[in-house]
Amino acid sequence: MTDADPVRLYRTVRLIRRFEERAVELVHGGQIVGGIHPYLGQEGIAAGVCAALDADDVLAGTHRGHGHVLARGADPARMLAELCGRVTGLNAGRGGSMHAADLSIGVLGANAIVGASGAIITGAVWAHRRRGRDTVGVSFFGDGAVNEGMLLEAFNLAALWRVPVLFVCENNGYATTMPVAGAVAGSIAGRAAAFGIPAVGVDGQDPETVRVAACAAVDRMRAGGGPELIEARTYRFDVHHTFEHAVRLDDYRPPDEVTRGRARDPVRIQGERLTNTDRAAVDAEVEATLDAAVRFALSSPEPDPADALTYLYASGLTVRTGGG
């Protein structure tokens, strides 16, 4: 079990928070095309879980994926460059918000298909272990994903083959506009129980609580245990996707619920564990990092359209283009 490090944990949630706020500005400014699914409000989960991981571990994220990539330690500048579609981006500008990946640090990528990454990470962890590593994996997903058959199949495979994957359900109460109660018969923990996977619920707004639960699960997995599930209750502070900033959908979340939800702020909660001086120092450091990241991203070159298909085939297969 890794020791508590409140400053580090605060730095992570603060970094994600400010990264997302800057990213939303860049969406509005037109520098990020296509918009993003902001992770605002859910920072404690990525931060807490990633604090439990070692260098050899791997994770796979979601469409709301910036937090996972950053918490795992990806360079915020290259991450932001990716969102801006620049060659210096993590994915050389080919992936964008929903596919940001950094395989060098075990981030298999955000993923635009809900429920898809659970089985992928299970295979990756199994393979790493077969090759002699002590890898564990984390599969992040939302409350909506537990209704996807492909994810439930992955639960079965991981449990059957005792692949140490920590399934982390970020229950923010909604899948886009669909409330959990309208979509999930039974319960999220029950979905794990169905496959004999131990599950705990935690307060996802407290980064330290998440960290402790994740460390305990990782320790058990590392000691030879099979997969586990953490349901982290959380709230998304902003929209499902930034297109909602332009086109307002019917109020699908009651205003007082939003107020209550935003009141439990993981950044504030973790920040209160630091002295004012420490907190101010981290805040300044984060701000400097992000200023630099924005400069880096916006000054980086855009990819050359002639290279549009450069990475299409890993084997180097070249294809006919579409021209006449």
């Binding site: 964008g96 899948a175 959908l249 549009a308 579409g322 021209g323 006449g324």
Partner: protein
């Protein structure tokens, strides 16, 4: 003569059919608030029993629709992303499509699969930018890709009334097209439409690309007389209509937002050369083979067939023939 957007034409078609026929109902993700901006207002008008929000269980709700259709209803499913069709390929192709033959004619499966915003939405990257209509033509599911508001209305209405499964692709690039529309009427399946007559070359364009083809034809008007043929339905394809056109012009260029290999452009060319002796080799302007749309906007655009490519293809075809 009211001005109507393509998107609102779809809304109107859904509303009219829900009103006309109790058997019609709508299901999909976030259709009640109308996250796609297509189903806006329908839940209020027709109730949440008939405009049903689903959990993220695409496979189950697609087959749920098959079952409901077997029991006499006419479900319409809205999919938020074109590639969700990959996720339910089995449910559509192996079940909904096959039931009538496999049961020896005991049933019909009138389900409409509506994909608003198919193709690139710019910036939605690799998993949200597919245009997989050719896949459905290959397996033999009726496939419609309307280009204009009137056709969007008319073909969606016809799709809903049709007794077999129909996939309706509403290209992102067409969703904001507006048109003066006199009257909204059903449009028959399998009947193409000539948007612009010409003598020298027939350009077949699909979906939103119809507008690009018309623009290019206008631009080149002083050099070459381009006929623009919009098949509207890809399967069944209006080969008779196209044959008539190509027989007149003698030249063929296809503009298709699908991948090149085994795509609609290939099918159209094969079907034409089986029947018509062309004056010049046919040409196709498509996405590349195996295309995955890269995120960066310039790359995203580079992978889609463009007007320059079409103009070049037209010029080359004209040269070849002479």
């Amino acid at each position: 003569m009211p001005r109507l957007s393509y998107r609102r034409a779809l809304t109107r078609a859904l509303g009219d059919e829900l009103a006309r026929d109790e058997a019609v109902f709508l299901l999909g993700e976030d259709v009640q608030v109308g996250a796609s901006l297509v189903t806006t207002g329908l839940a209020k008008r027709f109730g949440t029993e008939r405009v049903r929000d689903t959990p993220l269980s695409e496979q189950a709700f697609t087959s749920f629709a098959t079952g409901a259709a077997l029991a006499g209803l006419r479900p319409v499913i809205e999919f938020q992303i074109p590639s969700l069709l990959f996720l339910v390929f089995e449910q559509i192709v192996n079940h909904a499509h096959k039931f009538p033959l496999m049961t020896g004619g005991q049933c019909r499966v009138p389900v409409t699969y509506l994909v608003p915003g198919s193709g690139s939405r710019t910036g939605w990257a690799g998993q949200h930018s597919d245009h997989p209509y050719s896949l459905f033509a290959h397996v033999g599911v009726v496939t419609v890709v309307p280009a204009t508001p009137a056709d969007a209305y008319g073909l969606l209405v016809t799709a809903i009334r049709h007794d077999d499964p129909v996939v309706v692709f509403a290209p992102a690039g067409a969703m904001d097209v507006r048109d003066d529309v006199d009257d909204l009427v059903p449009v028959p399946l399998g009947r193409g439409r000539i948007h612009r007559f010409g003598d020298d070359v027939t350009v077949v364009a699909i979906g939103h690309l119809v507008h690009d083809a018309i623009a290019v034809a206008e631009e080149l008007a002083d050099q070459v007389s381009v006929e623009v043929f919009d098949p509207r339905t890809l399967y069944p394809f209006d080969i008779d209509g196209l044959t008539e056109s190509v027989t007149r012009t003698g030249r063929l260029v296809v503009l298709d937002d699908g991948n090149r290999a085994c795509g609609m452009a290939a099918e159209i060319i094969a079907s034409v050369v089986e029947r018509v002796r062309l004056l010049a080799p046919p040409r196709r302007v498509t996405r590349p083979d195996g295309a995955v749309l890269p995120f960066a906007p310039a790359l995203d655009r580079a992978v889609q067939p463009g007007r320059d490519q079409l103009a070049t293809a037209i010029h080359l075809t004209m040269k070849d023939g002479s």
